[in-house]
């Protein structure tokens, strides 16, 4: 359908046409406007002796409802970098996807492994450009040729580099645990335990965090993505698959009746195969 009001091809990228419509509709919703899916999260990261440990819970909420109990919040960026995302779920996923694509293009073009500072700069530029409208708070951790790094990028583009970090709605509880338990040059098991306890504190103190705890250990040798590291003790016993094994229903009687068929006509067709 050709429209005569379209005089130029629409610009690619974000489309602001619905803003006026939303403003007009706001009065009709009575305060109950539909909310986007947030991760309402506790995410944490710790730098230890040989690398970085990232941890996250697995609950995604949509206002007061738990929308996803097994949400994956640790996103792949590069073989040596992973990123935990808090905030609006779609924003964190798309932003980290774009970042991963950009770094892949870079490493294919230049033949080098991307460094963590590169990822942080790209994220910072991207998020600052949109002035906080993209609600993504990210913890980026990775190991590259210059060492083990952990950064946090806020939704407005602020960057912080620390040996231990937390973000999300449960960050204060988790940060308390990390402040108490962090020492420089931790061993792998101590670091994993510390992050797990920190996320657990966030889960216990924050309604929007919960369910399982995922961990991701990044070292020079490789990545160990442990999902789940610790399953919640309050999980329900519902099965997710309702497939019954053979023999569940007992067979009482069996009767076999062969069908009597006569050959009426037979035609042979040759296929032209070379």
């Amino acid at each position: 359908m050709a429209l005569s009001s379209v005089l130029e091809t629409p610009a690619a990228g974000f489309n602001f046409d619905n803003v006026a419509r939303n403003a007009a509709l706001e009065g009709l919703f009575d305060g109950r406007t539909p909310k986007p899916l947030k991760t309402g999260t506790t995410i944490a990261g710790v730098v230890f002796k040989d690398g970085v440990v990232l941890g996250a819970d697995t609950r995604a909420t949509s206002s007061e409802v738990v929308a996803d109990k097994t949400c994956s919040k640790i996103h792949y960026i590069a073989p040596n970098m992973y990123c935990c995302g808090a905030g609006t779920a779609a924003d964190t996923e798309k932003t980290t996807d774009l970042l991963a694509s950009n770094l892949t293009i870079f490493s294919l073009n230049s033949g080098r492994n991307p460094r963590v500072v590169m990822a942080v700069s790209i994220l910072q530029d991207m998020l600052y450009r949109y002035h906080g409208q993209i609600g993504a708070s990210l913890i980026l951790g990775g190991v590259d040729c210059t060492g083990n790094h952990l950064y946090t990028v806020g939704p407005y583009g602020s960057v912080n580099k620390m040996p231990y970090l937390t973000m999300g709605s449960g960050d204060l509880a988790a940060l308390g645990v990390l402040e108490d338990g962090y020492k420089p040059d931790l061993e792998l098991d101590e670091a994993k335990k510390l992050v797990c306890v920190a996320i657990h504190a966030g889960i216990m103190s924050d309604l929007a965090s919960g369910n399982n705890i995922d961990l991701c250990v990044i070292t020079r040798q490789g990545v160990d993505y442990i999902r789940p590291y610790q399953v919640s003790e309050y999980r329900d016993k519902r099965k997710t698959k309702y497939k019954y094994g053979a023999g569940t229903t007992p067979v009482l009687t069996e009767e076999v009746v062969p069908l009597k068929l006569e050959v009426v006509e037979e035609a042979v067709q040759q296929l032209d195969t070379a």
């Binding site: 610009a11 690619a12 974000f14 450009r129 409208q133």
Partner: protein
Amino acid sequence: MLRHENATQPDTLVFQKESATHGIIMNTRGLRSQLKDSVPVAGLCPQGAYGVQDSMRSGFSSVKNELLPSHPLELSEKNFQPNQDKMNFSTLRNIQGLHAPLKLQMEYRAARQIQRLPFLQSSNLALDTLRGNDESIGFEDILNDPAQSEMMGEPHMMMEYKLGML
């Protein structure tokens, strides 16, 4: 523009009037809009002759719709690329002198003119290569791809708009 330094004011006016092609002065808004530097706030203003709302095409206008730029990001996104270019060119001028940005801008203008007709999709390959967009992915590559737009423009109208005849 003074063609001769001794010419008086009325002479230049007459010269400008008589130099128009066959006496028909073509509206160069169409072609010039491609090479515009930035979209001003009034860029959200209605299209139509003399900047007045074209009621036949876009319906009735209301003051509220036109005054507010609706979303805080709308204007900054429209101007993002031109602003980046300006910033880069000015840095380049400070470091390497005037010739560097001049030459680059000449190449940009040349590349920007390699387009198909307005209602067809142009690949903009030369422009992308110059800008470095062929080596990065942003939201403008995945969201709202014009090639998959659900609304199609009327080809004759788009062509007339581009040539400034509308």
